[in-house]
Symmetry: C2
Subunit: 395 residues, 2 copies
């Protein structure tokens, strides 16, 4: 009796989540130290101490009716102001609290903006490889996800194909950089070209095309890599942000949307996003979490931990003979499967208690995603197993 | 450029929420003590001390990777078990953790179950007066809300009309007791009759009809009123619960669904609810809040506060000459408007800085809702103004 749409969704339920459940089962069976679970983007660097300290301080000193109470659906105005001020300082923007809608993580932010924008049949373009959940976020509102094929040379978006696939029905473009699953950071040059194409197509079709940038990994970049601030390149940009990875709070569900006043129909979109937050049943982002992150906007997880993991894993896998895209950000490594069938390769890896996710899940077959937000020992020990796995393919 | 559906939603945006915003504006203008804002069900009894104590204890003693991390989409298994055990003790049920899905408040629970069950065109029956957001929760999934007209004699459901309006397209029935906006508790007799009708109609149409009971006010009842446990009366019942009111945590967004194993297609529904939680962008209920409520399942807000408010308000309004339904639970009083046009009456009340919500919002014109989860002084002082308001209508 479940809905027809859900029947298929349950059948093809998230491969990543299924692996997470499987990893927990294997851990019980073989002991956690003998399972190399690279399936889920669950940060393993603890939240900064200031998070717990701020929460305790708020719980001890503030009125519980305020801390746990309702506020405007878009969030506490003072929290939204703190976020706006922080962005203004970092990116020389001029946001007010009204440009910020606090959300139940980035996943809710994307649902809110799609609920706001999409009529049935509207098209949303995204670039493979991409986070598989985008399919659902768009289909929730009867939109159509249009996928640009992957550019496996460097995993920057294929802009020629992009230009061809924009139609009169294109309502939005959804990007994600630093990228899940490749760890690639889209370059300033990419944004310049993408913006020029979008401007041209907006003129051609006489309606706005919104660029929605999903940025949960903004703060997680290595070395001197800079992540361009997308609204600087293209006017009709909406930013979706999450504190899940930057402050290691994935279970708390806290993030925000930036809806700049300069985007077309900004006022309607801001009002509608607030209504969407309510009627989708979020009502508002969790209140204590809102108050806590507002006090921790300058905090960051210890990224050196992930960087050491990245270096050891990347070098280790290359030594095994695998071909890998070197991640510039996030905590994912995208590796070429030695056989065409990435699912079969993942199944073979499972024999060694290595859990990795087929690239097919991300719209990019022939590759696998390795989430290296795990203990350093897991990386080191897994390399012995990856060595054996490589051997199976004559590497 | 916002979606067509949203254009209307923004226009007719929640009257209750608009009033909340207006109340805040009036407070800034006249001073909070001179505004009688009865618009929103925002608990004014603080959360039990054990909530803050539990959170602080968790934050100080537990691993932050556990406290703030991802878990199964349905919630921490140990939290779900604690909820199941607590229900089993209270209601002599035999739930396991698998029957519990932790949700982002009751609003998300209802969205999750409708996403799970509804195909476009499916009908959901509800009884006026009802919480206006139900319209949106059903239309989010292209369902059709079928409304049974109000029984203004005692505000128990009109079961004859109910029986007539069940069709082959009826997928679910949505009830809410203790009721928002009337404060009425549906009786055991109501459930016996409702169940008999549903059993008969299930046989007639050869498919299950799910009874979804929205119970954020379960613990808020006065005197010796008992709230029947609905799954005892009808097999295909799903319970939606929230800690928003019982523990005064509305901003934190924490609740759960009970999906008993005995309901038809239970296994599919449980799996699908977990998937729906993920793809609607909730991902999971806020993690710290899950852990905190699991430690506070026997806690309750101080209901004597609301009871005093209820008594003073009810008696005061009756003395003014108004006709009121005496609330048995929740913190709402449903009052007959002295004129047919309840919106006009609410506008007149605004002249006295009294903010109350038209019954039309709840599918019951000619009445108004007064949310008495406010300071006792507000009740006392407002009665002077209600006296003047009554005078305008010759009461």
């Amino acid at each position: 009796m479940i809905s027809k749409k859900m029947v298929d969704l349950v059948k093809g339920s998230s491969v990543i989540r299924a692996m997470f459940e499987e990893g927990q089962k294997l851990s019980r069976q073989y002991g956690a130290e003998n399972v190399y679970d690279f399936s889920l983007g669950n940060p393993n660097v603890p939240a900064p101490q200031k998070i717990a300290d701020s929460m305790v301080e708020i719980l001890r000193n503030e009125d519980p009716l305020y801390v746990h109470g309702y506020m405007s659906n878009a969030g506490f105005p003072e929290v939204r102001k703190a976020v706006a001020d922080s962005l203004n300082e970092r990116f020389k923007t001029d946001y007010t609290f009204e440009n910020i809608v606090m959300t139940v993580g980035a996943a809710s932010g994307l649902n809110v903006i799609f609920k706001t924008l999409l009529d049935p049949g509207d098209e949303v373009i995204t670039f493979a490889p991409f986070f598989g959940e985008y399919r659902n976020y768009v289909s929730n509102y009867d939109g159509k996800l249009v996928i640009i094929s992957p550019n496996t040379a460097d995993f920057q978006p294929k802009l020629d194909e992009f230009k061809e696939k924009i139609t009169d029905k294109t309502k939005a473009v959804l990007i994600n950089s630093p990228n899940n699953p490749t760890g690639v950071v889209y370059s300033a040059e990419t944004y310049e070209k993408m913006s020029a194409i979008l401007e041209e197509k907006q003129r051609e079709f006489s309606h706005p095309i919104y660029l929605i940038t999903d940025e949960p990994y903004r703060e997680l970049v290595y070395g001197d890599i800079e992540v361009p601030y997308v609204p600087k390149y293209y006017k009709n940009t909406v930013v979706g942000y999450s504190f899940s990875k930057s402050l290691s709070l994935p279970g708390e569900r806290i993030g925000y949307l930036v809806i700049p006043s300069c985007i077309e129909d900004a006022e309607d979109i801001i009002s509608a996003a607030s209504v969407a937050t309510r009627i989708l049943g979020y009502v508002n982002a969790p209140s204590l979490q809102q108050l806590a992150v507002a006090r921790c906007l300058n905090e960051k997880s210890d990224i050196s931990y992930y960087e050491r993991n990245r270096n050891t894993l990347y070098e280790g896998l290359m030594k095994c003979g695998f071909t890998c895209q070197k991640p510039e950000g996030a905590f994912y490594l995208f590796m070429k499967s030695p056989i065409e069938d990435d699912r079969e390769f993942c199944n073979t890896a499972k024999k060694y208690n290595i859990l990795i996710v087929p690239g097919t899940t991300f719209g990019c077959s022939g590759y696998v995603r390795i989430a290296y937000c795990v203990a350093y020992e897991t990386i080191v020990n897994s390399l012995l197993k990856f060595r054996l796995l490589a051997g199976e393919y004559g590497l």
